[in-house]
Amino acid sequence: MPSDQERILARAAREIDPGQIVNLGIGLPTRLFHYLPKEMEVLVHSENGVLGCQLLTEGSEPDLEMIDSGGAYISTRPGASVFDSALSFAMIRRSRVDVTFMGAFEVDQQGNLANWKIPGKFSPGIGGAMELAQKVKKLVVLCSHNDKHGNPKILKQCRLPLTAPRCVSRIITEKAVMEVTETGLQVVDIAEGLDVDALRDATEADLIIDEHRLGRF
């Protein structure tokens, strides 16, 4: 049986189509690398200035000048390019990245996202998250459904400072896949073995659920 994170990642990989340009946020989203078939023509963008990252082959000597935005050594695949930080963010602001995956502290049913600051506790700076959140057409949040104390992270309204307003397309947790729509948070898939009431109990946001069209993952 897959772990919660494996379940999230395996489902998230299905959001990527061949030929797309993809950005993987720091943390859990970076592990999506392992779920992309090596022969799949996808270019992974990293905001420090590279398009076409791939995992370093095990045992190979790293190039000290090649890292991703999380600081891990990487290599590149055919068709890759490297560039300065202004061009890298021009690519983001011009919506040339097709899909980005990010973690979240909180996300709400309007598609607001908070993932960079907990006032008084954690404020290392926003890095590239704000521009990615605001400008990439499809933002998929990957996070645990609840925090380590069991509190809901999928809220009616974010309480923490926002990374960007109304920016989230989809949320994938170990419990559900939810689409942000005009009318609210629509559950697309629910985890194998979980029932709808248990999902609602674990969630603060209002969920729109059409049981006839609900997928399992």
């Binding site: 189509d17 061949p18 030929g19 797309q20 340009i21 023509e41 270019l43 963008h45 590279v50 398009l51 076409g52 590149t76 695949r77 055919p78 068709g79 890759a80 390019s81 490297v82 560039f83 202004a86 061009l87 963010f89 021009a90 690519m91 983001i92 602001r93 011009r94 919506s95 040339r96 990245v97 097709d98 400008k135």
Partner: protein, 233 residues
């Protein structure tokens, strides 16, 4: 955006995406960097009522000069048209609307669109007649002019080398406006003398990453011979 594995196409198909009335950025400073083959195909396909954005108007019988002479261009946003008497005549006769900017401001206005901004604040042109037409604001006790970005629906650019994903490498002074325009248009069509399989171009040598290119076509060297005749050596 076009998927990376669907960008390499024929010149006919690439240009057929452009409707009449489109706004189109055209790379090149003089002949180098002008996408002659794409322009000749545009002439052949017959689109009209175009708005062109190009540093200069080429010369009457090459590049956008042929489109202007054929009456296919309604409006030209440019920096200097001194080498094209037909364009000057068309402007003076009122048949071609011409909007002119200092060259570096034109480049920056295009670059600004490519960077996803609304505009920038400059002191260039203060105290000259171009100042009157612009909105100005005070910042830190000085006056600055607002220069809005210039976007376009399409860009036609010329590269030396490309790969099938649309990564572009320019050469010599054919770089000029091409990388700026590739970023500023919604839909960028690139011509290159060689289109290679992905992986053939070293990552550091790529001037325009494929993310900014919608379609890439391979063209014969000969198409640029048109430009050659125009220059005294």
């Amino acid at each position: 955006m076009t998927l990376i594995n669907q960008k390499y196409t024929s010149i006919e198909q690439a240009i057929a995406n452009i409707p009449s009335g489109a706004s189109i950025m055209i790379g090149g400073f003089g002949s180098p960097g002008t996408p002659f083959a794409l322009l000749d195909e545009l002439l052949a396909q017959g689109q009209s009522g175009l708005t062109l954005i190009k540093n200069d108007a080429n010369e009457p019988d090459i590049g956008i000069g042929r489109l202007i002479r054929a009456g296919r261009v309604d409006r030209l946003i440019t920096s200097h048209i001194g080498l094209n008497r037909v364009a000057i005549d068309e402007m003076n006769q009122g048949r071609l609307a011409v909007e002119m900017y200092p060259q570096g401001l034109l480049a920056e206005k295009i670059r600004c669109a490519g960077a996803g901004h609304y505009g920038f604040l400059t002191d260039i042109g203060l105290g000259t007649e171009i100042a009157g037409a612009r909105r100005e604001i005070e910042c830190e006790g000085k006056t600055w002019a607002i220069e809005p970005a210039i976007h376009a629906e399409f860009a036609l650019v010329h590269a030396d080398l490309a790969d099938e994903y649309g990564n572009l490498v320019y050469r010599g002074t054919a770089i000029n406006f091409n990388p700026l325009m590739a970023m500023a248009a919604d839909h960028t069509i690139a011509q290159a003398f060689q289109v290679q399989p992905p992986g053939n171009l070293p990552p550091e040598t790529i001037h325009t990453p494929c993310a900014f290119v919608s379609q890439v076509v391979q063209v014969e060297l000969a198409s640029s011979e048109q430009g050659r005749r125009a220059h005294a050596v």
